[in-house]
């Protein structure tokens, strides 16, 4: 007998004693239907709610009607904060007019020395001001993690009310979750020293969200 058999054997015995189990087809049904628990009523304005929540979590938020303006907005933001004007972006964003705005953006996964990382988002969640990023070859996880500044371009049409809605979009788009699904809610932080919140622990010091409709 190995550990697996021992543990499962004990669980089986205990379950038999308690006899509270559910018939197997009900369990399978629960998986197939994956019912939602209680969810909050949807906000009237998803974008406004998302913005308000994100700002509460110390993210910076900018908005534009035209995606082509994103590089200009970012360049101004970086200059205002005296941050470097170069970094990396997801390959899918390589086509934006970065150079014209005075930015040098390389389309590749982030390395330790990169200071600005620009990503998109699979979708965003209004309830908590959260980004949902699905990892993949064209959406590397390091871009939102290693640089000190994380910039995410959010399509307002992809802002949903709850995390349940976000899972719904994921099931439709890719079925199973990819290797890494990351929900991001503002810059990394720690309150380990005297329970005092300090921004910029091991991940980004700041998160800039640029709300811009997909082209």
């Amino acid at each position: 007998m190995n550990a697996r058999e021992n543990i499962l054997g004990r669980i089986r015995d205990a379950q038999a004693r308690a006899a509270k189990g559910t018939p197997a087809d009900t369990l399978t049904g629960h998986l197939a239907q994956h019912p939602r628990g209680p969810v909050p009523p949807p906000p009237e304005d998803l974008v406004a709610c998302f913005k308000a929540r994100a700002i509460k979590l110390s993210s910076d938020v900018l908005e534009t009607r035209d995606r082509k303006n994103v590089p200009e907005l970012l360049a101004n933001y970086l200059r205002q904060k005296s941050l470097p004007l170069s970094g990396v972006c997801w390959p899918s964003l390589g086509g934006l007019p970065w150079h014209a705005a005075g930015l040098e953006m390389q389309s590749r996964p982030a390395r330790n020395e990169d200071l600005v990382g620009v990503t998109g988002a699979f979708c965003a969640i209004a309830e908590t001001g959260t980004l949902m990023l699905l990892g993949g070859a064209r959406t590397p996880a390091t871009t939102s993690l290693l640089p000190e500044t994380h910039v995410a371009i959010v399509d307002p049409g992809r802002i949903v009310a709850t995390m349940e809605d976000a899972w719904g979009l994921m099931r439709e788009a890719v079925g199973q979750p990819p290797r890494a699904v990351n929900f991001i809610s503002g810059p990394s932080r720690t309150a380990d020293i005297e329970q005092t919140v300090t921004l910029g622990a091991h991940g980004p010091y700041r998160v800039l969200l640029i709300i811009a409709p997909a082209a």
Binding site: N2, A3, R4, N6, I7, L8, I11, D13, A14, Q15, R17, A18, T22, L27, H30, L31, H34, P35, R36, G37, P38, P40, P41, R53, L57, P109, G135, G136, A137, P140, A141, T142, L145, T162, E164, W167, Q176, P177, P178, R179, A180, V181, N182, F183, S185, G186, P187, R189, T190, A191, D192, I193, E194, Q195, T196, T198, G200, A201, H202, G203
Partner: protein
Amino acid sequence: MKNNSIDFKRQATIKLADAKLQGALARLQSRFVEGRSAVISEIHDLQETRNAAAAIRDRVLNDLEHWLLHFEQQATARGAIVHWAESGADVNRIVAEIAVQHGVRTAAKSKSMVSEECGLNEALERAGVEVMETDLGEYILQLAHEAPSHIVAPVVHKNKEEISDLFAEKHNLPRKTGIAELCREAREILRPAFLNADMGISGANFLVAETGSALIVTNEGNGRLVTTLPRVHVAITGIEKVVPTLEDVTTLLRLLPRSATGQSITNYVSVLTGNKNAEDHDGPEHFHIILLDNGRSGLLGGEMQDMLRCIRCGACMNHCPVYQNIGGHAYGWVYPGPMGSILTPLLGGLENAPDLPNASTLCGACTVVCPVKIPLPDLLRKLRERQMERGMKSRQETLLLKAWAWLALHPNVYAFATKIGVRMMSLLGGKNKLLHSLPGVRGWSDGRDFPAPAGKTFRELYRQKKRK
């Protein structure tokens, strides 16, 4: 981690007199208790959500075998390797074997209370693997060779001056005094550890059976780094942490960070499924998940099963008047506060932690704030009953309780005895109506006075009033 719960009374007395600790505990209370109360009301229907969360956990526990097997099947299908461990020693052996198998020399670790149960760091060091804790709190504790004193805020017992001194000594850098500077220094020291580690070690807040995923909630980003950069990732968690679906886990996530730190959501929620595929640029090539029993299966199907609903938010300890006064170290093992007072005797033996079930006034604050509605005071009471049944109480306590039980069953004698008792105590209480010491229970009156009764029993007063 060695269980030192047997020393609870002595440690509690020391902690009560520790002024620095008392300051730290006051801070914890204000930040976490007030923080929780500020955001918990954001939940549209809190009671309905708590009921749903408790029901999700119950559903899992009632069919744990089914959900674990489904999880194992899904995780394996995605390329993860699932290991089963009976004890902490099993976990240590499995991780050491994985390290040998993949030629691992250095490991970066994010916070895991289950790994604290096992004493994993020491075991890995013995196996020749250099382990770096990367959660700021755990890193500080590793430098100081101390154990965590809270499951969410492990270094709550230390103030920033102590941490400044520690960093200055261990890092050999000029002493910093600001909290932001200290955090920056730790970040700069730890970044190379993430980049160079062969293995990342994490816990898992939940396992999702539907998808075979391990889910971790973190704020610092170290949890993401240790599960993204190293070529091997080992996630260690308890067998009870499985949850059926992504929707189920989402309901629990509405409650966990709000109850724990007063955050609507943690900075990062990472759902990790399988290992990296050929096109991916990041992620581990090898993903191992270790499921630890360590006594948990023994709680299933019995009167203690509700304890396995626990999602480790720490709200019970933040709100516990005992924890608030003595902190976590006095409890002697990994889990302090009300949940620890139940888990420690159940996982480590009641005989090794005889004081813990009694380290509670049964005020009930813990169960009011528990997101999964664990009846903590009831479980503590059941442990006290077990102590009584097994003859683990002192002769004095047993005799007193027996005498009281006899009295309670003989109302006339009870009335007579209390009539005399309250008069005597009232007399002894003097002008201030305070008893400075109670014969036989000195421990109780050492730190406070006992208010003397008014001179008549309730029944006498009631009869008097009725006559009027």
